[in-house]
């Protein structure tokens, strides 16, 4: 493409978003789609058009994994590189794609047709190994199905025209048409049972906004993303702060490895979620809403747009909702671009403002000063769904389920070594053992509750309970059998945090790299007891001094396994006593000097010692 044409196309994309700097992420995603990269000259044009600076645009492009400076293939195959996918046969699948398309992982074929790369968990752990081919999701891959897919692509089939089976429920809807399966194994009585349509909103609109928040408060609903903050308090603060505009954001950036329950809610309960957002807007006096949809779920976007449109047509979004004069509220979808950190609410807001997805300093909290400086309620998909149900059935009905502090039901995404991976809706407070029985898990050695940022428990701790009082979780539950290598899992998740750290603060950016390096040395059998102390000390510094939740929890894979799997470490430790550091390898240390001196060392060379 010649320069002028490129410039005019990029400028046209900027124009489509009114040259609005706060829409920079949308602009970059569209430029990426059209040009397959955002290169240096495109950055210059974008900076000029939206009145930004080239270095700021470059800051964005180099932050989000789905944006690239170098040109990607016409078809980008992103293999889900989660531990569950690895254990389900990722390597063999990856090799097939590589062979068939003639491209190594991390590279683009010389003819520019294919890029093959790894990406962190894409929310399909219950049907691993999975991959994204452009926006098309392929699940339950085998070397055979991978070969078929690769050959079809090589023969020129477009990713969205691949001959794939179709999943159940709305996955078969013409606007989704995906092979993704819901795998709803246990519908509970709040979200996944049969529901009346719109009953919650109808009842809310007959109440005062204040009474709506009181209803939520009486349910004692806490945020479903994992942190468990009381929802009513969030809404109340946003309602109380004097402001000209207020926002309701739905966090659909489900990125915690092993979590996929929001995918199912977005597929099967999109209307309920939007209803919950509308109720939130009514209660805080918000007029503008946004769904932050993770880039990996782009295949759900046309469907979600249609649900939004249908609700507008029915007068449930837009001006005078439900016939209520003065209650105006509408929602747009913001696509994410491959950044786990954007699931953190203030990073999510930064991302929506056209900035790098870095968390903001708190205070002020988003409910006081969030998107563009206005009070912003950010809640998880599941939280909004619960809110709509609470307004329908009443706070007391909801609070009757679960435990004292953790009311209601919770959706668990279960994956790994079990007979029935999928989504389970169960009252909060059940034991891990109970859940293991339902999912058909045998010979359980370890359960990772809450994803890598949560806690890895051992088989003797299965009586622990899933609730805020004990094991708090956003819903990720990964099961590992006795034949799995615990430290391989741990190292994988440290890699994940290193990859996904935004790099803003020192401990999370640097400390996690050191944690992983020492873990690798331990795995090689070159460490002593002091190295465990080192990991515990360093992990504590990272957890205590990091700026956001990612850093606070990033040492957890190591710290929780040192606590709960001490033997896994101790069998690898060397006994001390000879005064030498176990990790010090004298032969390796001498190697460079030997090479430079072109002679062997008399003292340390084993060949000399073993001589006559």
């Amino acid at each position: 493409m010649n320069t002028e044409l490129m410039e005019s196309r990029v400028a046209a994309i900027c124009g489509k978003f009114a040259n609005d700097k706060s829409r920079l992420l949308d602009i970059l995603l569209e430029v990426q789609r059209e040009l397959r990269c955002v290169d240096s000259s495109a950055m210059d044009v974008i900076a000029r058009e939206v009145g930004s600076y080239r270095v700021e645009v470059e800051g964005m492009v180099t932050f989000y994994a789905f944006l690239s400076e170098t040109k990607k293939g016409e078809v980008v195959i992103r293999l889900c590189d989660d531990i569950i996918d690895r254990q389900a046969g990722l390597e063999a699948v990856s090799r097939v794609f590589s062979e068939e398309l003639g491209v190594e992982v991390g590279q683009t074929s010389s003819d520019g047709r294919f890029t093959l790369e790894y990406t962190p968990c894409i929310g399909m752990s219950d049907q691993a190994p999975a991959a994204l081919v452009n926006e098309t999701v392929i699940t339950r891959l085998t070397p055979e199905s991978a070969r078929q897919t690769a050959r079809a692509l090589a023969a020129g089939t477009r990713p969205d025209a691949l001959d794939l089976p179709v999943g159940g429920g709305n996955n078969a809807h013409p606007l989704i048409r995906s092979m993704v399966r819901n795998n709803i194994r246990h519908p509970g009585e709040v979200l996944l049972c049969d529901l009346p349509d719109g009953a919650g909103l109808e009842r809310a609109l007959g109440m005062s906004p204040k009474a709506v928040i009181e209803e939520i408060a009486s349910s004692r609903l806490s945020g479903r993303g994992g942190a468990g903050f009381p929802t009513a308090r969030k809404w109340q603060t946003a309602a109380d702060v004097p402001a000209e505009r207020r926002f309701v954001f739905c966090n659909a950036d489900e990125g915690e490895p092993g979590t996929f329950k929001d995918r199912v809610l977005l597929t099967e309960r999109a209307g309920l979620m939007i209803e919950g957002m509308t109720i939130a807007a009514y209660s805080i006096g918000g007029r503008e809403g946004l769904i932050y949809l993770r880039g990996e779920y782009a295949y759900l976007r046309p469907w979600l747009e249609s649900v939004l449109q249908e609700r507008r047509d029915r007068g449930l979004l837009g001006a005078g909702i439900g016939g209520k004069e003065g209650f105006d509220f509408d929602i747009r979808i913001q696509m994410g671009a491959g950044a786990y950190i954007c699931g953190e609410e203030s990073a999510l807001i930064s991302s929506c403002e056209g900035l790098r997805g870095e968390p903001k300093n708190r205070p002020p909290f988003p409910v006081e000063s969030g998107y563009l400086g206005f009070p912003t309620v950010v809640d998880n998909v599941e939280t909004f769904c619960c809110a709509a149900r609470i307004l329908d059935r009443g706070g007391a009905w909801f609070a009757r389920l679960g435990t004292e502090r953790s009311t209601g039901t919770k959706l668990y995404s279960v994956s790994g070594d079990c007979a029935r991976p999928g989504v389970y809706e169960l009252p909060l407070g059940i034991s891990v053992a109970d859940l293991m029985e339902r999912v058909g898990a045998q010979e359980v050695a370890a359960v990772l509750v809450g994803g890598p940022s949560g806690e890895m428990i051992n088989s003797g701790q299965l009586d622990r309970r899933l609730c805020l009082e004990d094991l708090a979780t956003g819903g990720s539950v990964m099961v590992f059998s006795e034949w799995r290598n615990i430290l391989e899992i741990v190292e994988h998740f440290m890699d994940f945090f290193i990859e996904e750290s935004c790099g803003y603060c020192t401990p999370c950016r640097v400390g996690n790299v050191f944690m992983k390096m020492r873990l690798q040395t331990i795995r090689k059998g070159l460490c002593q007891r002091e190295d465990i102390d080192y990991l515990e000390e360093l992990g504590k510094t990272i957890a205590m001094t990091s700026r956001c939740g990612l850093g606070h929890t990033s040492p957890n894979p190591i710290l929780s396994t040192i606590r709960n799997f001490p033997l896994v470490y101790s069998v690898l430790l060397k006994e001390g006593g000879d005064g030498l550091q176990a990790s010090f390898d004298i032969q390796a240390a001498l190697e460079e000097s030997r090479r430079l001196a072109k002679r062997r060392s008399m003292i340390y060379d084993p060949a000399y010692n073993s001589g006559p």
Partner: protein, 241 residues
């Protein structure tokens, strides 16, 4: 609500105005809370985390956290000193900080912080040894980001004081670094007279002025005379000063 109030730092009573950060209140009281990314005249960004203190038992960054009436702040305790030492070491090991050959030696805030915390030999962690190209394209300035600690002081000075946006963060995670607004420094509108180029702005030896190396003899460099933070602590000893 809008009246001055008291809180305590390590048992000492400190006066604060509403909205004032713990760090600003401590500075006025002559209590030094160590910091690297924060400096007078620039908005705080809380990224280096050296200034983390405990506010009623909860870790917060003193540069951004408003003081809270009647609260207890822990600053110079064994636990916090331990965290700070770890953080300073992390920065030493993340970049290439070879003090004896560095132009900033003696006025380098990272080096001074190391000395203040008694880090004589930073060998606890592995060295990451970055090999980023040095940008010497500008006639007056050299930029060696291998020595950068990502404090962002140049970014904020250029953006908020010079109104130029010469610098910005690019990359993410351990690959995060300071980039310039163009293919190289020479292609930007930076000038040696900018605040971002001020000798006080870069705390380490990342931004170097050409033709002005090693200008102070050993013994007369900024931190040869007194440890970093002494100026603030002297305010506490002599309230009239």
């Amino acid at each position: 609500m809008n009246e001055d109030f008291d809180f305590r730092i390590d048992g000492r009573t400190v006066r604060a105005t509403p909205g004032q950060s713990i760090m600003d209140a401590a500075d006025e009281a002559g209590i030094y809370i160590p910091r690297l990314c924060d400096t007078e005249g620039l908005a705080p960004q809380a990224s280096c985390r050296i200034c983390v203190v405990k506010l009623n038992g909860r870790p917060v960054s003193a540069c951004t956290q408003p003081a809270v009436a009647a609260s207890e702040v822990e600053n110079d305790t064994d636990e916090i000193r331990h965290y700070r030492r770890d953080l300073v070491r992390m920065l030493f090991h993340e970049g290439n900080h070879l003090c004896p050959i560095c132009e900033a030696s003696g006025r380098c805030e990272l080096q001074a912080m190391g000395y203040r915390f008694g880090i004589i030999q930073p060998t606890k962690y592995p060295y990451l040894q970055p090999v980023r190209p040095v940008d010497a394209s500008h006639p007056d300035i050299v930029l060696d980001t291998n020595r950068c600690i990502l404090c962002g002081r140049c970014i904020r000075a250029s953006r908020d004081i010079d109104g130029k946006h010469v610098f910005g963060y690019i990359g993410r995670g351990i690959h995060k670094r300071v980039g310039v607004n163009g293919p190289s420094l020479a292609a930007t509108d930076v000038s040696i007279h900018d605040r971002s180029m001020d000798i006080e702005t870069c705390p380490v030896g990342c931004i170097i002025q050409k033709g002005r190396g090693f200008f102070a003899p050993i013994g007369e460099r900024e931190y040869d005379k007194a440890p970093i933070g002494s100026q603030i602590e002297q305010r506490g000893e002599d309230p009239e000063a």
